[in-house]
């Protein structure tokens, strides 16, 4: 219907500055896609390319099957919510809401209907309609910005970090509201943020971007559980995943005195490999655990519900390696030396050169 397609998009400013190198993806009607990544990864540029505020150097953009790559923003039937809301300061709230519709020569009764619909959904009171943006609170302005997009009934919604200017408490509430709101719209949504929580909770699909490329395009759950490369593994998940570069010997990776079995699917055993495990998956070893490591506790950070414990494991050749574990507060443990279990089902393996994930896991190792 109004499917959004990006085909090999590239934006080159100068030979040294290429924010979007090659991005292809599709967003279907009822999908909510988040472009997630650190600053400079190209997510905002991609959004602006979709909007038509920047011109693609190469590639195509299609909306509903129609090639809009060279069309003006106003001709693409898209609506955008800006980070700063970008409300026209000299117009009233009502005029702000309907400015786009007026330009499209929508009949006045239709305008009125859509505005009151949007106002109802967003909880914008009648009394606000005649005020100017300068007289509204931050939260109210944010809702007007969303409202301005809603009344357009566009083919695609674009949102550029719309929550980042709200304070933390408000952000949580608005996040929930937005999720409900856009689920009811049934139109592709592209959302840009650097906040993982927003990405994970709001979207049906997440595209993790870095250096102008899509690192992984998947559902939030799979991004978390099956990161496709080192970058995604290290970026998604807080506290950050433990990433350890280990030597290999035989069919084991060597961590100090401990051996960890390499996955069966690994055909050729390389010299070194990267092991990843999330701190929340590291737990205190129980008697039945076979894959374990032992080390000295160097730092304990109290995060409220958990302790983030940094453990140093001595390795004869590589010096010391640090492993962080998220331990519950209600469990007793030795504050000097800890034996930790690394459950095989939570291990991620990555190629040292390419950073790509090595399809997984298994195994039972034994301590020498």
């Amino acid at each position: 219907m109004a499917k959004l397609e990006l085909i090999h998009l590239n934006k080159t400013y100068t030979p040294k500055v290429i924010p979007v190198k090659d991005i292809s993806l599709t967003v279907e009607d009822d999908e909510f896609l988040t472009l997630l990544g650190p600053s400079g990864c190209g997510k905002s540029t991609t959004l602006r390319l979709i909007a038509g505020l920047e011109e693609a150097t190469r590639g195509q953009i299609k909306i509903g099957g129609e090639d809009v790559t060279y069309k003006r923003p106003g001709e693409r039937n898209i609506a955008m919510v800006f980070q700063s809301y970008a409300l026209y300061p000299h117009m009233t709230v009502y005029e702000n809401l309907c400015s786009g519709l007026k330009l499209q020569k929508t009949p006045p009764e239709e305008i009125k209907r859509r505005v009151s619909d949007a106002a109802r959904v967003l909880g914008l009171d009648e009394s606000l309609m005649n005020r100017k943006p300068g007289q509204l609170s931050g939260g109210q302005r944010q809702r007007v910005a969303v409202g301005r997009a809603l009344v357009r009934r566009p083919h695609v919604f674009l949102l550029d970090e719309p929550l980042s200017n709200l304070d933390a408490l408000l952000r949580e509430k608005v996040r929930a509201d937005l999720k409900e709101l856009f689920a009811a719209q049934q139109v592709p949504v592209v959302y840009v943020t650097h906040d993982q929580t927003e990405a994970m909770t709001l979207s049906t699909k997440v595209a993790v971007l870095d250096q102008g490329y899509v690192q992984q395009l998947d559902s939030p759950e799979r991004i978390y559980s099956h990161p496709a490369n080192l970058f995604v593994a290290g970026f998604v998940g807080s506290p950050q995943m433990n990433l350890l570069t280990l030597r290999c010997q035989g069919r084991n990776a060597i961590l100090s005195d401990f051996r960890i079995n390499l996955p069966e699917s690994l055909e050729q055993v390389p010299d070194t490999i990267v092991l990843g495990i999330r701190p929340e998956n590291v737990r205190i070893a129980r008697p039945e655990d076979t894959q374990i490591i032992k080390g000295r506790v160097s730092l304990v950070e109290n995060l409220g519900m958990h302790y983030l414990v940094t453990v140093r494991v001595q390795d004869s050749q590589a010096g010391s390696l640090t492993v962080r574990a998220l331990l519950p507060t209600d469990q007793a443990w030795n504050r000097e030396e800890l034996t930790l279990a690394l459950p095989p089902q939570n291990l991620h393996w990555f190629d040292v050169q390419t950073g790509e994930a090595i399809v997984k896991r298994q195994m039972v190792g034994s301590k020498i």
Partner: protein, 296 residues
């Protein structure tokens, strides 16, 4: 572990010594400021006083500073013996018109340079900057020829067009720096809403630019009002002259008598609109000038 609340020693109060040097500095400062203000206002004030003096007071030696009697004769003389009201209207008409033209030609150009990044934009900007430096004397010869050829002598256009052009660089520079500071988001939102460039300029940007337009308009009005060399050369018919030229050419009853009184009165009247403008808009004027100069 017990905590001890420690008392901070109280802030030392200023010693008598420092208070004394503080007020000496104050005295110097006030004196300097007073002198500066006096320096700035003196000539204008002197003309103001002179304009109300009777002729005997004016030509009295030693100089009488405060008039013994007050008279409005000089002012009346201006309007009765010469078409001073016409001069005022001429100046006003030319200044306002050229200001309006300057703004309507300069604002779009400023926007284009600020936001649309045209090819050769840097060259144009440099040219605009350099052109600001040309004194009128360099231009008057070429313009004189054009005006003679087109028979525009003693036509208001002969002044309006050059004034518009001379004010254009300042207009473009000031408005450009203003446009650059506008949040880009608003234009993005307007583009997404479907505004084309013209609609965006008129409906979104212009209302927000109003303060800058006022500032620039005041500056161009001042320049146009004060202009001398073109007004002197291109307009020779008495009833079309602008105030600076007319005042400079005030003759007396006899060829030996220089009418100091009416000249002073003409000065007061000729500068009154500007004084009022400066009084009300001084902050904006400084803003506009520094924006144009600093950014340039």
């Amino acid at each position: 572990m017990s905590t001890v609340i420690q008392e901070r020693p109280p802030h030392p109060s200023p010693t008598p010594q420092s208070r004394k040097s503080f007020s000496i500095k104050n005295i110097f400062l006030s004196l300097a400021v007073f002198l500066v203000v006096l320096f700035c206002l003196a000539p204008a004030l002197w003309q103001l006083l002179t304009s109300f003096k009777v002729n005997e007071d004016i030509s009295a030696v030693p100089t009488i500073y405060i008039p013994t009697r007050y008279t409005l004769n000089h002012y009346i003389d201006l309007f009765v013996r010469r078409p001073f009201w016409r001069y005022i209207c001429n100046s006003a008409f030319v200044s306002i018109t050229s200001t309006a033209f300057s703004l309507s030609i300069g604002a779009p150009a400023a926007y284009a340079l600020a936001r649309l990044r045209p090819w050769g934009g840097k060259v144009i900007l440099a040219a605009v900057l350099i052109v600001t430096l040309f004194p009128g004397i360099l231009l008057f010869l070429g313009l004189l020829e054009i005006i003679q050829a087109l028979h525009l002598g003693n036509n208001y256009l002969a002044l309006i067009i050059p004034y518009t052009a001379i004010n254009l660089p300042l207009t473009i520079l000031v408005l450009r720096s203003f446009f650059e500071q506008l949040p880009k988001d608003l234009e993005d939102a307007a583009k997404v809403d479907g505004y084309n460039t013209w609609q965006m300029l008129l409906k979104i940007l212009l209302p927000m630019t109003l303060p800058a337009l006022v500032t620039t308009g005041i500056l161009t009005f001042i320049f146009a009002w004060n202009e001398f060399i073109f007004a002197l050369t291109f307009i020779t018919r008495e009833e079309m002259k602008t105030i600076p030229v007319a005042a400079a050419q005030l003759g007396g009853a006899s060829v030996f008598e220089i009418p100091y009184g009416p000249i002073a009165a003409a000065t007061v009247l000729g500068t009154l609109p500007l004084v009022l403008l400066v009084l009300f808009f001084q902050r904006k004027i400084v803003q506009g000038l520094t924006a144009g100069a600093v950014k340039g």
